[in-house]
């Protein structure tokens, strides 16, 4: 269903008409800022490898340096094309940095680049079927929530049902911690894959990551449900 666009290999400078590699930001011929018509992905844009363990200090330094190059403040007196290019590149830089800065967003983004994002997209996780590995926890939690609502409606003291909710979230919290550890493990596996690793090998890691992310989103929703119940009182 995904109409894969042609992978761009060259971009054209709107100012002088010269060609430039996709991942440079300024025209090698006329030195003007390039519009964002053709570009690589967030990793390539920031000049970092497509890995999941990134040096955050280095990433931030790149963000700062590039902000100083692209920001619209510095193109106020420039031509319309350059002003537009500056706005586009600054926006893309901000979007890229925001995404890659957060480990979870970074994984989501990698999955989308690797064509495995269809069901893990944020927001779409709401009405998913329960991941098999979580069936037991979900079942127990739902029972507990029902009983808490029942307690509430009978006017039980807040302390009573609050402590039950606290207990109910313990196994979920534990599950979440386990998932975070697994995600870290898988991230390290992905980073260790050589550039020339077999497609099947890459696919396996990506699929495993995708599975963990689905479960993670599901758990987040469960925890949000408990929080909501906690906050609601009566």
């Amino acid at each position: 269903m995904n109409t894969e666009p042609l992978v761009p290999t060259v971009q054209i400078c709107r100012t002088c008409g010269g060609g430039a590699p996709v991942d440079v930001h300024f025209c090698p011929q006329c030195t003007r800022i390039l519009t964002l018509g053709r570009h690589g992905d967030y990793f390539a844009f920031l000049g970092v490898p497509r890995k999941l363990n990134l040096d955050l200090a280095d990433l931030e330094q790149r963000f700062r340096t590039m902000s100083r190059q692209f920001h619209p403040d510095y193109f106020h007196n420039a031509s319309l094309a350059e002003r537009r290019a500056s706005l586009e590149r600054s926006s893309y830089l901000n979007d890229a940095y925001r995404t890659l800065k957060h480990p979870i967003d970074r994984i989501e983004y990698l999955l989308s680049l690797e064509g495995a994002d269809r069901q893990s997209a944020r927001g779409a996780s709401g009405g998913q079927e329960v991941p098999a590995s979580l069936l037991e926890e979900v079942f127990a939690l739902n029972e507990e929530l029902d009983e808490v609502r029942d307690l509430k409606s009978r006017g039980a003291p807040e302390q009573d049902w609050k402590s039950r909710l606290e207990r109910a979230r313990e196994p979920i919290d534990a599950k979440q911690a386990q998932h975070e550890a697994e995600l870290r493990e898988l991230s390290t596996q992905w980073d260790a894959l050589a550039d020339d690793a077999a497609a099947s090998e890459r696919r396996a890691v990506i699929e495993a990551l995708r599975g963990r992310m689905l479960e993670r989103n599901y758990i987040s929703n469960l925890l949000a449900g408990i929080e909501k119940e906690m906050a609601q009182g009566l």
Binding site: R64, S91, R98
Partner: protein, 617 residues
């Protein structure tokens, strides 16, 4: 070369600054006053007055005078319905449209009122540059500040105000960020800064990370309806309640007139100011007389301060920073002069806040710096701000789907896919909102877009990608493309509480039309001011201890009488709108007192030369 300035368009006061030899400087009037009260009054002949002159009319013509117009920026008539009864001027407008304010027989939108204030500042700056000897003192470009928590409609309204005032708005920047820029200049510090900005009408908190000249906002929070105004309203209401209960108890009657309300408001504001230095003050107005102790005042305003602290905690949470990690706290806005505000903010962050720079002026200084950066391309400093509120669109069932999350660094983009619901549908409606709530109705409606020109296809086939762009001003724009055909769609934007470009153009023309009347009003004010200073000088001479002796020795017979007659004549015309008469009588008084002034001057020179005191002569 024309000039650029930075403008702090405040709820209570506005001011203008510029950069001179790399340093920002506030522009003052002849009396050394930097603040222009953000008050506009319309006189009976339709002319507009701005600033101190307008503020005086709050007490005499409250129904023709508007203050705190900033609170109406980007608002619809339904937003202000609850306060409409308390306001001395008329409120109108169509539902979903921009609110209109009726002063005298003229109607204004909030951007038009703000434009009058901006034009006053522009004029002040131009006079200043002309006096400096500039060949081209025209001010045609400006950076204008807004509260960080302003939404898109409020920012757009501010930009429109600038355009109506004949200014190219180079950039809209956030007040706390501007303040940090002004502070950062001297210190060159690196680290985490919290800027706490409690002004007349709005509250902002911004957490910034500063490193090698880059001022990066990590998070911002606030309340566009929380400020000194609320404290004034609370105190005013207290006095009114008291007076009314006295009245109902059978004492002398009190009527809640607009004039009475303004008098009380003026008195409680003075009391509030007094309590910044004194432990106790007295409120004595309209038959109300009572002492107010600082402790009592602090208890009264505590809930307001608590609300600001709650915003601070949320901002810290969003920035993922602990209070103890904050390296510097900067205070901005007149309301941070209140000692209890300083103390509680200090306690929250565990350090003494900075208030070296005048909290009324620091925002304008920062705006001037940003204007300079934009014009000169100076790359030493860079502001990276965030969008304060999430941007979303309405989806099925009135639920908000967020596209750009709050605290995202701007400029930022986001996109969303749409499709059609019925076969051969050629247009799709999109409702854009701003806010954090789940339901569309709880968020702020920004605009309704209509995507047109969709190629006829079976339902669900078109793939419409709408791209949202928030620019460096925090203002939204949108483009759309049908991906199957790659046809760019036209987007019709109907801002929910704003003005269309055509309306702004019309207002620009309208303000030219009124420019003549406004110019006349300004000349009248100038004439009155001049007359008042001549009267004051004459009275001073007449009252001076040596006058009796001067009158007998030096003045010709009847000279004193002539002076007194001229004084009466000028006083008589002073309150009229007859500028020519005021100027003539001023001239008459000037001439008749010239001799007197010379004599007194000669005497004091002689006295000085002989080393004697004037009294000894």
């Amino acid at each position: 070369m024309s000039r650029v300035v930075g403008i702090d368009l405040g709820t209570t006061n506005s001011l203008v600054a510029y950069v001179s030899e790399n340093r920002p400087v506030v522009i003052r009037d002849k009396n050394g006053d930097a603040l222009v009260p953000s008050v506009v009054s319309v006189s009976a002949d339709g002319a507009t007055l701005v600033g101190h002159e307008a503020m005086r009319r709050l007490l005499t013509e409250p129904d023709r005078t508007i203050y705190s117009v900033k609170r109406f920026m980007g608002k619809g008539v339904e937003d202000v319905q609850d306060v409409a009864g308390l306001l001395p001027f008329r409120i109108s407008g169509t539902p979903g449209g921009v609110v209109r304010l009726g002063l005298g027989d003229r109607e204004f939108t909030p951007p038009e009122i703000s434009a009058l204030i901006l034009r006053e500042l522009k004029h002040r700056a131009e006079e200043f540059f002309a006096a400096e000897g500039d060949i081209d003192p025209e001010v045609d470009r400006a950076v204008i500040t807004v509260p960080a928590y302003f939404n898109d409609a409020q920012r757009t309204a501010t930009r429109d105000a600038g355009r109506i005032a004949g200014l190219e708005v180079l950039r809209i920047i956030n007040e706390p960020t501007a303040a940090s820029l002004a502070y950062g200049l001297d210190k060159r510090h690196a680290g985490l800064i919290a800027v706490y900005d409690l002004g007349g009408g709005t509250f902002d908190i911004s957490i910034l990370k500063v490193e090698d000249g880059i001022f990066q906002v990590l998070s911002t929070n606030g309340d566009t309806h929380l400020g000194g105004d609320d404290i004034d309203a609370l105190l005013t209401e207290r006095v009114l309640d008291h007076l009314e209960s006295e009245t109902s108890a059978g004492r002398a009657g009190f009527a809640r007139t607009h004039v009475a309300i303004q008098e009380i408001r003026k008195a409680v504001i003075q009391a509030k100011w007094d309590l910044s230095d004194a432990d106790e003050t007295e409120i004595n107005v309209a038959g109300y007389r009572s002492r107010l102790a600082r402790d009592e005042f602090e208890v009264l305003i505590r809930p307001f301060v608590e609300r600001t602290l709650e915003s601070c905690r949320r901002a810290l949470h969003d920035a993922d920073v602990k209070p103890s990690e904050i390296d510097e706290v900067v205070l901005v806005g007149g309301s941070t002069r209140i000692p209890t505000v300083r103390r509680l903010v200090g306690e929250l962050f565990g350090r003494k806040p900075h208030c070296e720079l005048n909290p009324d002026e620091v925002v304008a200084l920062g705006a001037a710096l940003q204007a300079d950066i934009l014009i000169t391309g100076n790359r030493e400093m860079l502001l990276l701000d965030v969008t304060p509120l999430s941007l979303g669109i309405e989806t099925m069932g009135g639920v908000t789907s967020k596209i750009i999350l709050r605290n995202s660094t701007i400029p930022a983009t986001g996109s969303e896919m749409f499709t059609t619901a019925v076969d051969n549908q050629t247009a799709v409606d999109i409702h854009v909102v701003q806010g954090e709530r789940e339901l569309v109705e709880d968020n702020r409606s920004l605009a309704r877009f209509k995507l047109r020109g969709i190629p006829p296809m079976p339902a669900g086939m078109p793939r419409l990608q709408v791209q949202f762009q928030i620019d460096a001003n925090g203002i939204l724009s949108a483009t759309a493309t049908e991906l199957r055909t790659n046809i760019e769609q036209t987007i019709e934007v109907k801002p929910s509480y704003g003005l269309t470009d055509d309306e702004v153009e019309l207002m620009l023309l309208d303000s030219f039309e009124h420019a003549e009347a406004d110019m006349e009003a300004r000349l009248l004010i100038d004439a009155r001011n001049e007359a008042e200073s001549v009267i004051a000088a004459t009275e001073k001479s007449l009252r001076s201890p040596e006058f009796a002796e001067v009158a007998t020795h030096d003045l010709s017979p009847g000279e004193q009488k002539k002076i007194e007659q001229a004084l009466v004549g000028l006083r008589h015309v002073l309150s009229s709108s007859d500028r020519a008469a005021i100027q003539q009588w001023t001239e008459v008084l000037n001439q008749t007192t010239q001799h007197l002034a010379e004599v007194i001057m000669n005497r004091s020179v002689k006295a000085a030369l002989s080393g004697k005191n004037v009294d000894e002569l």
